[in-house]
Structure formats: C-alpha cells, structure tokens
Symmetry: C2
C-alpha cells in the first residue's frame, strides 16, 4: 500500500537526503532538546488515527512561537526539505504522515489562549490548543467554542481539515468560526489575513482558503475564533423509527421548518445494537435519531412540542426526552460512546471511519444503498451520522490480516463515494482529502479543477515543501 | 482623477488597440446584434453607481449561455483583451469600469432560475438574475433568498463583491449562502466547484475564493444558492436613544444574549432628520435602532419582551413596535427610504457611500469619531448601518463642482478607514475594493499579503485579462 501512495521521488535522491541532514544540523543548535530524531518520537508523529502504516518524519521539532516556525520554514525551503505541521494527531486521512520524510512541527507547545474579548465574543488562540482545553479555559466566561469533531483535536488541525461535527447544523463548520489567521508561508514569511470585523469584502478570502488546505499552503500559528454564548436551556430527545425513511423525513421536516435544532444525530440499527451491548442499554434496535434544541427555556419547550408532532407523524415508535443536564447525558450516552461501542463489536480489528456528505433529500437513498452493500459484502460496519447536514460515517471493522476483507471494504467505500457523487454530494464532509482520497478529489471535481488548486499551491509554495503528497498526487 | 487610477499602459499600445479591434471582428459574426459598440451602450456599461467618471469598454456583448461566455474568454485571452463581467451595474467601487477598455459581458440575459429543490432548500440560478427577480420567482415556494444589499443587484454581482446587507446577522453574508459555482476561467475553460452537500472538506474552498474576487479570477455563469424558509412570524421595533452609546450597547447585549434577531439597523440623528423631512414622519431626531425578530409567533413575542427590557435598560426614550406586515412597513418606512431621504437633504449633489466594518465593541467609538470629523470638516453626511455586524455607512453629500469639498470628504473617509483599521476592522464590510480602495487593501493587510493574492491571480490569469486594474494596482 505504501508504495502506491508515493508518486514522486524528488525528495528521495541522495542530495535530498543530504539536505535533510543539513537542515537538522542547522536547526539542532536553535531547538536543543526540542528537536528529536528518536525513532519512537518519529514513529508517533508519522501517523494519525486511521492509517495502520506510518511514514515517520526525519525529525520532530516543538516550536514555542511564530518566529521559530518561520525559522524552520526558511531552512526547509532553502534546502527543499518537507515540512509537516502536527496538531493532536487525530486526523483520519493520513494528513500528518511524512510520506517523503522531512521535518515535523509538533505545535502542542503553542497552546495558549492569547485573548478573550467578551464584548465581541471572540478570542485569539495558538494553534496547538485542543478544543477541550479551549472550552475548559472558557468555562467561566459564559462563552464556548461549539465546533466538536468528536476527537479532542487541536484548533490548528481542525482549521486545516475544515472540521465540523455534531453542532454544525446550528453553528456552521469551523470555516464560519475563524475570523483571522496568522500563517507562516513556505518561505518563512509571516502573514496575517482576516480581521476582527464580523464581515469584510476586502480582497480574496484567504482565511477560508487556508481553512481546509491541510497544511499545504502555510502553517497556522495563531487563530482568531468566533465564540458563542453558552445556551440558556438545552433539550434532548431520542426517538426510534421503524425504518430509515421515517428518520430521514423527520430530519428534512425539522430543518425545513427552521426549528432551532442544534444537533440531529443518527445511529442505524447495527450501531444501536453495539451501543446497547457496550453501555448496557435497552434502546429499540431500530434507526434512531438523537435531537437537541438550544435557546431559552420557553423556546426549547415550544420547539420540543413541535418536534414531537413531526416525529410522530413520521411513525416514531419510541420517544424519550430530557431537559436537565444529568438526564440528557444519560439519554445521549449511546451517541457519546458510539465509536467505542462500534469497536467493541469486534475487538482487535481496524476501524476505518468512512465519511461522505450528500444533499439531505438524498440521505435516505445513500444510507440505504450503503447498508445494502455492506451487508452484501459480508462486512460488519455500523452507520452513524450528523444527518442534519447530510453527513454520515460508516465504521468499517476490518481484520487487518485479512486482505480479502480489506478489498471488500475498499470496494464498498468506493461505491459509497461514487453514490455520494452521483447524488450531488462530496467524498468528504469533514475529514479531508489527505493521502487517502486524492483520487476521489479528482473524481469529485475533475482533473482541471484539481489542476487549478495545484496551480495555486505551486504559486505559493514553489518548492513544494509544505506537506508534500497530500491533497494532490505529485508528478 | 482618471489618470491616477491607471497604473499600466500595456493595454494601451497600438498593438493592444489593434487586438481589441480584432477580437470584436472575430466575435461580431457570433453575436450579431448582441454585440454593441454604440457609444451610449458603452458609456452605460462603463460605470457603476458611485463613480462620476466612467471608463467605457470597447464593446458590450450579451451572452445567453456558458458556451458563449467561454468563447468570448478564449478570444480575449488569445488577443490579450480585457474582459469585464457586468451584472446590474449597482456596485459602488467602480468594479465595472473598463479602465483599460476591452469587452464587457452584460450577463442580464442569463437570468433564469434553472432549478428549485424544496427538499434541500436550494436552487440553481444564472448569474444575471437580480435578487428581486429571484424572490418574486420563489414567492409561492415557501422559500426566499434573504441576502439583501439594498440595491436590486444581480446574484452574480453580489457573489463577486461578497455582498451582504441587512439580514447578515441572521443568515450570514452571501459567502455562506453559495453552495456551488460554475465559472469560466480566463482561458475559456469551464469549471464547477462546490457541490450540493451542506458541507465538504474536499480540497481548497474555491467557492469562497471566487466569492468576493470581483471578476478578477473568473466569470460566474451559474450559482447554486441556499434558500431559507419564509419566516412564520416577524416582529419589528423602532427605538430612539439619547446618545449613540445607549444604542450600541443595546446592540451588543442583544447579540450576546443570542437573541434571534434578524436585523438591527442604525440611523444617526442626521439621518433621522432627513427621513422625517423626506417621509413626513415625526421620529425623535436621535440615534435610532430598527430591530427585527423572526421565528414562530411565540418566539418573536418572547424575544420582543426581552428586547424591551434591554432597550429600556440602555435609556431608550421611545419605543414602538409592530407584528403585522402593514404596520411593520409603516414603522420601517424611515429605514427603507433612508438613501433617498439622505439625497433629498441636498439635491443635485453626488452621494458617496462610505463603508467600513469594525468589531462591535468598537462601533460606538468609530461612529462617534467619524461623526465628529464630518462635522469638523463642515460636511453634510448622515450615518446609517447594519450595526449588528459592526458595519456602517456614511452618505457623503458632495457638490461635484467643489474640489475643496471633495478633498475634505476624502480626508474624512481616509481617516474613517484608518480608524476602522486601528480598531481591528476592515476598509469594506460589503462594497468591495474595486478601483476605489486598492490602496486601502494594502493598508489593511500589508503589501506582502496583497502580493500573495496577486500571485494567485497571476497563476490563474497569466495574461491579466480579467477585470484588470481592480483589487490590485497593476505594475
């Protein structure tokens, strides 16, 4: 598998290898013990959460400020050495794999909150802070940062993969919640884009361009984020449907009514079975929605009452709900432990988390087709999703030693993406392209559009040092 | 003034002029009477709403489909002829001025709604349709397209300038409401970016990059837009404050409380005076807020009651409100006629509409400083704004024959932008850079960032034919 992931050898000539050694020698006196070439450290930084096989960098550096990041970039650019930013290592598409070796910048020591501005509901953070660290910091301010991809990812990593998660339906993806960025470019130049105003028509939108660029255009060293008031009241409910169609039609009707839903999560019958077993619950093993409302107490109550009518009209066979925090947590336990519950269905297997997003009208079709293909291929794979956005995941539980099983999984995943494309959707709702979906990016937009993206990349990073091999194939 | 706007003469050599003539001769047989070189037509297409002096193109073409746009681009690219897209001609920063002549593409005959998909709340339109035409089309569907910049602009133009307006606080700018685009590139290639899924992490966000690129990266030929349900209930109120601070603090508190406000508009005392005179009203001539809530009847009532408390606590001296459509229209009459009321304050003058946007916490400072400078400079200029976003406009009423008055206006406007920058804001909240603010773009981000934008432009449009002289100075 590894051989086919590489499409260039320009970083693997003797000269290139000598240049990496030179870069490390130049940087070692600056960083001291914040530069490591130890193999355990390198291995740990060479893979995210999904790829069994890692590609270790030649060295890992822990910068503590922007000037240091700039210094490393200058050296790498001069010597044509790959440079890869590493956040929390939770990405799922091989984004942090050092496919061609080089220097890994571990941003975890740049994890400070630099400023919180209550009047404007924004804050300035370093990229290495994780979302849980940020929300812990904010707890007493009345604000929170709602973007929640599940994993305790770093903010820099979340921006780089255009992360979203369960709250998107209310707060948008991270792209709508980044106001400004400080970025170190390939040549070491430090730039700032965006500003603290809530909107601007000044020039090209570089903030949205860096967001989702997976470390291929620059290294994020500071971010200004939009914060949101902690909700006054939250109401949660869980409801089971005799079939998928009822669940999805409920989602469509709730969205169309403009109800202030903050989350609508879906678990299919296989996932509910996994959750029952794992968390000792007794939920009906049917397609199930987890719905959450936020607002004032009066709004939440009103909306819940309306939702009950909608849910019932689509044939829900059970409905439970809660307003206080403890009962809500109990009610949503199945959703919160879904990933671990799925893994426990078949211990000691790999879990490949597939990710597509389709127009909501096509969601039932896409999920149903996918479920049928999973079953026909004899695979074990629960389905769950942020269905308010049309985004769903398949958790493929695969025996790593079984080549045939992996082939069947890949065939189903390919088909699932082809279905998403046919239905007007995308090959990735929130995980990104990385190494794993470079061919799917071409399938989605066509080679000329990917070529256009690469022209941009080449204009800004002419030596191609920033996270080489990601998003695009190299020639 | 015109001479200083031009910074290149590469389009003005004898060869360049001959090439324009060649392009017109090549295109004339294709377009017949949909190509005009008549001087009235050219003059009309050489200016938007704000620039007294126009720069007419050499010819105007009315394409009726994407293939025709592509054909024109190919010819222009081959012959190095400037190509400028023209929507409704309502832009305020000289975006459509053919600074270096060339071909103007009037998109008004590409104004069809191609599809409305109720289940997904989206639609596909051609770029020449205006927002009023689109909303008239949608009237019976239960949906509407809420982005409202005031003028009856074309959708293509609104995307190109990253337009917003009064509804931004609830629905975002147009950038959050464009899902996919078809674009003709400088070389005539037709590409599609984005898709119909509600989110995607697939590659660079080209949709957001074309949005706000002012026709310098490509010509939009089709757009997929997000629609929104027509609100069930709307409540409007108007309240006057003894001073600016009370009005702005009200805005901050309403925003922070997460109230489902759909609009918060501000008129200063000069603007209210203008409205009273123009519309024969008797509003208190004080800083005034126009506030609107949307939602269910119960939510709107609840929110209005909360808003009353907030408004009163900040010293409002009057408060009026309405729920039914007719009374709301009467109540908001002053806001709706603000532009014409301002112009009527001093007939037969030019009206220069200044546009900045600052963090909300800085809004009172920025407006107060601006008002003081206007008064000190002896100018007549009402202030109004979409204050929920921190965005405000000064309507400078200037005698076009009075050079000194224009100089004083420019000094105040320069200072207003410098203040916005000092306070963390932007030189344009929603009007764009165009011709008028190219130096301000550099002031806002610094020359290296603008250079980065230009590298991107050069990579995609190496001959520089797309709307030359806009956003960037040419060298």
């Amino acid at each position: 598998m590894s051989a086919s992931l590489k499409t260039s050898n320009r970083f693997e000539t003797a000269e290139a290898k000598a240049n990496v050694a030179r870069a490390i020698e130049q940087l070692r006196p600056i960083f001291g013990d914040r530069l490591s070439v130890g193999s355990a450290v390198r291995e740990q930084h060479g893979r995210g959460e999904a790829y069994a096989q890692g590609f270790p960098p030649d060295a890992v550096i822990w910068p503590i400020n922007t000037a240091e990041v700039s210094r490393v970039a200058k050296v790498c650019n001069e010597l044509r050495v790959p440079l890869i930013a590493f956040g929390a290592g939770t990405s799922l598409e091989g984004h942090v794999s050092a496919l061609y070796g080089g220097i890994c910048l571990d941003m975890s020591r740049m994890n400070q909150v630099l400023e919180v501005r209550a009047d404007d509901a924004d804050c300035v953070v370093q990229p290495g802070i994780t979302r849980e660290e940020l929300n812990a910091y904010l707890r007493d301010t009345g604000f929170y940062f709602p973007i929640d991809p599940g994993a305790n990812a770093s903010i820099g990593g979340m921006i780089s993969t255009r992360a979203s998660g369960t709250n998107t339906i209310r707060y948008g993806t991270i792209a709508q919640n980044v106001m400004a960025l400080e970025v170190v470019l390939a040549n070491g130049e430090v730039i700032r884009c965006g500003n603290r105003a809530r909107k601007s028509s000044a020039g090209y939108d570089l903030v949205r361009l860096f967001t989702g660029s997976e470390g291929t255009l620059g290294i994020i060293t500071e971010a200004t984020l939009r914060l949101h008031g902690q909700p006054e009241a939250v109401g949660s409910s869980v409801c089971a449907f005799p079939d998928l169609r009822g669940a999805v039609d409920t989602v469509i009707e709730l969205i169309q009514s403009g109800a202030p839903v903050s989350r609508i999560e879906f678990l299919d019958e296989v996932q509910v079975r996994a959750c029952n077993a794992y968390s000792k619950l007794s939920l009906p093993e049917q397609p199930t929605l987890f719905i959450e409302f936020m607002g004032t107490a009066a709004t939440v109550t009103e909306q819940f009452e309306r939702a009950v009518d909608v849910v019932k009209s689509h044939g829900a066979t059970s409905l439970d709900w809660a307003f206080d925090e403890q009962r809500r947590a109990a009610l949503w336990k199945a959703r919160h432990s879904a990933y671990f519950a799925a893994r426990a269905l078949r211990p000691a297997t790999d879990c490949i988390v597939a990710d597509v997003c389709v127009p909501i009208s096509q969601l039932a079709n896409c999920v149903a087709e996918t479920r049928a293909e999973i079953d026909a291929a004899g695979l074990l794979a629960p389905i769950l999703g942020h269905v308010g956005d049309g985004n769903f995941h398949v958790l493929f539980l695969i025996d790593p030693s079984n080549e045939d099983e992996r082939t069947r999984m890949e065939r189903v995943y390919d088909s699932m993406i082809a279905t998403a494309h046919r239905l007007g959707g995308t090959c990735t709702g929130e995980h990104g392209i990385g190494l794993g979906k470079r061919d799917k990016l071409i399938a989605e937009f066509g080679a000329p559009v990917v070529e256009l993206m690469r022209k941009l990349k080449d204009a800004w990073d002419p030596n191609g040092i920033l996270n080489p091999g990601k998003v695009f194939e190299l020639n």
